[in-house]
Symmetry: C2
Subunit: 174 residues, 2 copies
Amino acid sequence: MNGVSLSPTSYIVLGLLERLGGGTSYKLKQAIAESVGNFWSVPHSQIYAEPDRLEQAGLLGAERESGGRRRTRYTLTAEGLAVLDAWREAPADDGLPELRDAALLRLFMGADPGPLAAVRERAHRERLAHYEAAKARDDGTGDRGPWETLEAGIAHEGVSVRFWSQLAERHHHG
Amino acid sequence: MNGVSLSPTSYIVLGLLERLGGGTSYKLKQAIAESVGNFWSVPHSQIYAEPDRLEQAGLLGAERESGGRRRTRYTLTAEGLAVLDAWREAPADDGLPELRDAALLRLFMGADPGPLAAVRERAHRERLAHYEAAKARDDGTGDRGPWETLEAGIAHEGVSVRFWSQLAERHHHG
DNA sequence: CCTATCATGTAATCCGTTACATGATTAT
DNA sequence: ATAATCATGTAACGGATTACATGATAGG
């Protein structure tokens, strides 16, 4: 029982390395960008720093190239897999998420809703379209997890579009 | 034009101090807890640290008690108000928010949806009820901003309840 | 009076943001 | 060859998280 405390970023790294069967930080970066990054992004400097920490903790093994690109390839250790499994099976004691929407913050603090709503409506419509395209490309044969979270994303983008478009309507002639 | 770069936390402090007409960090803490903190919380240590920074930057004035509780009372300076106004009037160039829901992360990474969904459905229902109670208490005479953001919160909690309850249904017998 | 909770901060550490830097490929 | 972009990191800084600490006030 070593007491390393792991962050969501840690589990993203562990989980994707499991799915990919190991890989470099750059590989992770790509994998995040097109999947989990849609609802939980990780800056690329962290994608290089975090596997290092996990290696120190014994959850990853690393092989470093000496020549060429000198890249480092990480793989899950048995302990890393155990930790990942334990996290998946643990009771979900996470706190509820917050919206943390900077546009809502401006609105709350008294910004003019008109321009704000117009900009946000467009942006959310685009993201919604992007998610729906991704869903259309999905043939349903892969893991369930990513598919479910995509559904969640679509649902939330839907209400965002409705919220901002209604707000825009109430303010576009005033 | 001094180049202090302000964070969302900064604007929360500035905006609430404007609304409250000045106050101590503890007063801010309470004000955040019952309003903007619902979608953008700030840890209490930051609520003590941030006004200090803003004072250094000349955006707040501070009066420190010498006896008793030795508390510090902050007020907006003219420059602070100008900065707050500029932010409210600026084009909304903020990036879209991310869900960053730890339960979605577990789901994505392969956790069993059943227990997860049951727990989250309950939690979101409670928060939804809490928001709706707050809405019922609102007599509509106050600022629009908080009311609009409350609407946004209700809408998002609604889809969260639907998402997790549907997921729970699909998994509660198997 | 004693204890619990309110009120008010400070400190250590860690993580995220941003910027810097540079070697490898690919395209022209 | 040269330029562009891909790939792979490092470093500095600041803000967030977490823990520690302690003086006031209220309730019993």
